[in-house]
Each structure stands twice: as C-alpha cells, then as structure tokens.
C-alpha cells in the first residue's frame, strides 16, 4: 500500500509527519480551550442566576 518514495522517502515522510504534528496540536488546543471556556462560562452564568 505504501508508495515507493525512492531516494526522497525521508523528506516526504518528515514533511507529512511534521505537518500532522502542527495541525494536530492546533486542532487539539482549539477544541480543548473552547471546551474549557464554555464550561467556565456556564459555571459563571449559573452563579449569576443563583
């Protein structure tokens, strides 16, 4: 299944690997921060209404 990358296998795989790490980190931090802020806001709204 893996294509034959010839002499440039290291370059191609490292480009895809590094990009995946950067994109994965970006998506992870965006989702986690969104969830945290959403929860904190829900708590603050509940305190206000109480």
């Amino acid at each position: 299944m893996m294509p034959d990358l010839g002499n440039y296998a290291v370059e191609v795989i490292s480009a895809y690997g590094l990009s995946s790490i950067v994109l994965g980190f970006l998506i992870f931090t965006s989702v986690v921060r969104n969830a945290r802020v959403k929860q904190r806001l829900a708590d603050a709204e509940a305190r206000k209404d109480a």
Binding site: P3, L5, Y8, V12
Partner: protein, 256 residues
C-alpha cells in the same frame, strides 16, 4: 435609488450577522457541516496525493509535498488578509466580532505559515541543495510568521481589551504589506530561487496549468485546508466571544 436602498439593506443584514448573539446562532448551525466537509476534502486530497499520484520527472516523490505546502501557504497569506479586514472594521466601526475574528485567525495563520516554511525547507534541501536561502519570497514569508507571533504576543501582553484590539489592529495593518509581498514577491523580484505560482507553470512565454494528475488532488487539498481554516476560525471566534462574556461576568462578581 432602488439599488442604493438594496445595497444598504444587504449591508445592514451583513452587520446583523456580526451581532455576537446572532453570530453564535448561525455559526453553531454551520460548524458541523464545515467540519464534515473539511474532513472529507482534506483526507481525500491528502490520501489521493500521497498514495495515488505518480512521481514527477524532475522532482521525484518530493512532488507529494506540494499537497501540504501550497494549501498551507494559501491559507497563511489569506488568513493575514482576513486579519487585516477584521482589524480595519474594528478601527472604523468598533465592531467586536470583527476584531475577535482577527484574533482567532492569528494562531491558525501562524501554524499554517510554520507548515509552509517547514515543508518548503524540507523540499528545498534535495531540490535546491539548501534548506533555506534569503530569497525575497522566503524572507517575506518568514517576516509574515514573525508578524503572526508579534500579533499573538501583543494581544496577551495588554490587559485592557479595547487597547489591545487597537494596537493589534495597527500591527495587522502594517503586516498586511508582508502578506502581499510574500504572495507577489516573485513577480517583481527576478532574483531568488522560489518559482512563481504552482498551479500554472510559466516558461517565460507561455503559461500552462500543471498536469491534472497533480492538480485534482491539489485542488481538493486546498479546499480541505480552507475549510479546516474556516472551521477552526469559527471555533476560535466562538471561544473568544465566550471568553469576553466570562471576563465581564467575573469582573461583575468581583465588584459585588
């Protein structure tokens, strides 16, 4: 007269969409659709490009890096232009959602610029014989990366929201020149290693589009990166709007 009235009506509708409450409503409905479309386009484009495209006659298998490098660079440059527009609207109309869109764009743009720089350097070593050269396009792209970092740091360094928004907006306006420069530097600087636009190949006399074998997965990958950018932008802007409301509530609690 009727046209002016119609344009003014569209303009009002546009600003109505930027109302924080209205924004949260339509963005929550749109977000799942964009996420599904982004996942489909990105996975299809990258799998197609990596597994099912042939090697290029001159570049060998390094041509597969194009499916990451070009879309990331596209989003990096246009992301900064969006920051410019958002900042401009803030300075002119004091529109909070527009400046929060600009703020949410910065980390995404910075990550995309990093991917474009990294993949470009990795491709450059076997093709140019060097990871880096102070070529006009590469240099302006690196400066664009520094502007993204500066913008994020400036936001976090200033406590007052409006002052931070004012100063970062000015920085975004200044940096926009580098975003345009990183896109068009190859056109007016003849020296440098970086070639012109990738979608069309020019031999100086004629321009032709790259082969469909490479172009079709590239197009899907570009659409995937743009949709991913849009999804992350909506998530980021929603987070910023919530964070602003949270800060307001916490300040109110402290005063009581």
């Amino acid at each position: 007269m009727a046209l002016t009235w119609k344009l003014s009506s569209y303009w009002d509708k546009f600003w109505h969409l930027a109302n924080p409450k209205v924004f949260m409503g339509w963005s929550s409905r749109l977000l799942p659709i964009i996420i599904v479309m982004a996942a489909f386009c990105l996975s299809t484009g990258l799998i197609w490009g990596f597994f099912f495209t042939p090697d290029d006659a001159r570049q060998g298998s390094t041509v597969k890096i194009i499916y990451l490098h070009v879309p990331a660079a596209l989003v990096a440059i246009n992301g900064y232009l969006l920051m410019f527009i958002g900042s401009l609207f803030w300075l002119i109309r004091r529109q909070h959602v527009s400046v929060l869109i600009a703020k949410a764009t910065a980390p995404i743009g910075m990550a995309m610029t990093a991917i474009a720089l990294l993949t470009g350097a990795i491709w450059g070593q076997p093709m140019w014989g060097t990871y880096w050269v102070w070529d006009p396009r590469l240099t302006s792209f690196f400066v664009l990366f520094l502007f993204y970092i500066g913008y994020i740091v400036l936001w976090s360094a200033i406590e007052d929201h409006d002052t931070a928004a004012d100063l970062t907006s000015i920085l975004a306006l200044v940096g926009c020149g580098f975003a345009l420069l990183s896109r068009y530097a190859v056109l007016f600087w003849s020296q440098g290693l970086h070639q012109g636009t990738t979608v069309t190949i020019s031999d100086g006399v004629q321009q032709e589009r790259i082969s469909d074998v490479f172009f079709q997965p590239l197009l899907l990958s570009m659409a995937g990166f743009c949709l991913l950018f849009l999804a992350l932008l909506l998530i980021g802007t929603r987070t910023e709007l919530r964070a602003r409301r949270l800060k307001m509530l916490e300040l109110r609690e402290q005063m009581l």
